[in-house]
C-alpha cells in the first residue's frame, strides 16, 4: 500500500510545541491530533490547522486521538464542526484510539452515539472500505 506522508508543522503560541501529522492512506486522510489537550486555549489553532483537510472537501478523514489526555467542550465542539462540514460535502469523519478520559467525555455528552469511534487506526480505515 502506498503511503504518502505529509507533515504539517505547527507551533502553538503558548507552552508547548506540537505537530499535526497528516497521512494519506489510499483514500483516507489520517490526522493525529497533537498535544495532550484540546481545550479553549488550543482549539483556535486546531481549527485553523485542520481547515485545509476539512473545509469544502468530501474527504474521508480519521482523527487518531491517542495522544489526547484531555478535551473540553470547546474541543468537542470543534470535532463536531469537522463532522458536520465533512458530511455536508459528502465526506465523513471517524475517530480512533481514544484515551479513557476522552472517551468518558464523549459518553457523558452522548457523542459516542453520533460519531463513529474505533479502537484502532486500522479499524477506522477499514470502516471506510
Amino acid at each position: 500500500m502506498d503511503i504518502a506522508l505529509y507533515l504539517l508543522r505547527v507551533t502553538y503560541k503558548e507552552v508547548i510545541s506540537v505537530d499535526i501529522t497528516i497521512e494519506q492512506l489510499e483514500d483516507v486522510i489520517m490526522v493525529t491530533l497533537p498535544g495532550e489537550y484540546l481545550d479553549a486555549s488550543t482549539v483556535k489553532n486546531f481549527k485553523s490547522d485542520i481547515s485545509p483537510v476539512i473545509d469544502g472537501s468530501g474527504n474521508h478523514v480519521v482523527f487518531d486521538m491517542s495522544q489526547l489526555q484531555f478535551i473540553d467542550s470547546s474541543g468537542l465542539g470543534a470535532i463536531l464542526s469537522c463532522l458536520r462540514k465533512l458530511n455536508g460535502a459528502g465526506g465523513d469523519l471517524k475517530l480512533c484510539s481514544m484515551t479513557k478520559p476522552v472517551r468518558a467525555l464523549f459518553e457523558l455528552v452522548r457523542m459516542h452515539r453520533i460519531m463513529d469511534i474505533y479502537n484502532s487506526r486500522e479499524e477506522a480505515v477499514s470502516a471506510f472500505k
Binding site: 503558548e14 507552552v15 489537550y37 479553549a40 486555549s41 467542550s73 458536520r84 468518558a104 455528552v109 453520533i114
Partner: protein, 142 residues
C-alpha cells in the same frame, strides 16, 4: 482535615491548563483516597468549563482580569469557588446542548452540572460574583 489553597489566574484561556494542574495536585495531595482518577478528571473538567465560561461570558473574552480559584477539602468533599469581578453569569442564559450533533456549543454548563454534586452561581460576602461547586467523595463499599 480542612485545607484551603488558592490559585489566582488571569482571564486568559491560556491559563486553563494551570487551573487543571492546580486541581490535580491539590486533589492528589489533600484528598487521600477520597477521589480516584475518574472523579478527579470530572472535577478538573467541571472547573475548566466554569473557568472558561467566566472568561467568555463574564469577561467577554477580555484578558487581564482576575479569577481566583479557591479549593477546599475536608473529610467528605472538595469545594471549589471561582471568584471574579465580571458580569454575573447565569447558566439559564446558555441554550441547552443538542445531543444530536446539530450544534457545537452549550455543553459546558451541562458538563459542570453532571460532573459536580452541587453548583451555585452567587455573590460572596464581599459582593463578588462566584461559582461555587461541590464534589462529594464517592461512598466506599465496605
Amino acid at each position: 482535615m480542612n485545607v484551603e489553597k488558592t490559585l489566582e489566574i488571569s482571564s486568559s484561556f491560556n491559563d486553563l491548563p494551570r487551573v487543571r494542574r492546580f486541581l490535580h495536585e491539590f486533589c492528589h495531595t489533600y484528598t487521600g483516597d477520597g477521589f480516584d482518577e475518574d472523579h478527579m478528571a470530572q472535577l478538573e473538567l467541571a472547573v475548566n468549563e466554569a473557568t472558561a465560561n467566566i472568561i467568555e461570558h463574564a469577561y467577554h473574552g477580555e484578558e487581564g482580569h482576575s479569577i481566583q480559584v479557591v479549593a477546599q477539602a475536608d473529610d467528605a468533599q472538595v469545594a471549589i469557588e471561582l471568584v471574579h469581578t465580571g458580569e454575573a453569569f447565569t447558566p439559564d442564559s446558555v441554550p441547552p446542548p443538542s445531543f444530536d450533533g446539530s450544534r457545537s456549543n452549550g455543553f459546558g454548563v451541562y458538563l459542570i452540572a453532571n460532573c459536580m454534586d452541587d453548583v451555585q452561581y452567587l455573590q460572596n460576602e464581599q459582593g463578588k460574583n462566584c461559582i461555587y461547586m461541590i464534589k462529594l467523595y464517592p461512598k466506599q463499599e465496605s
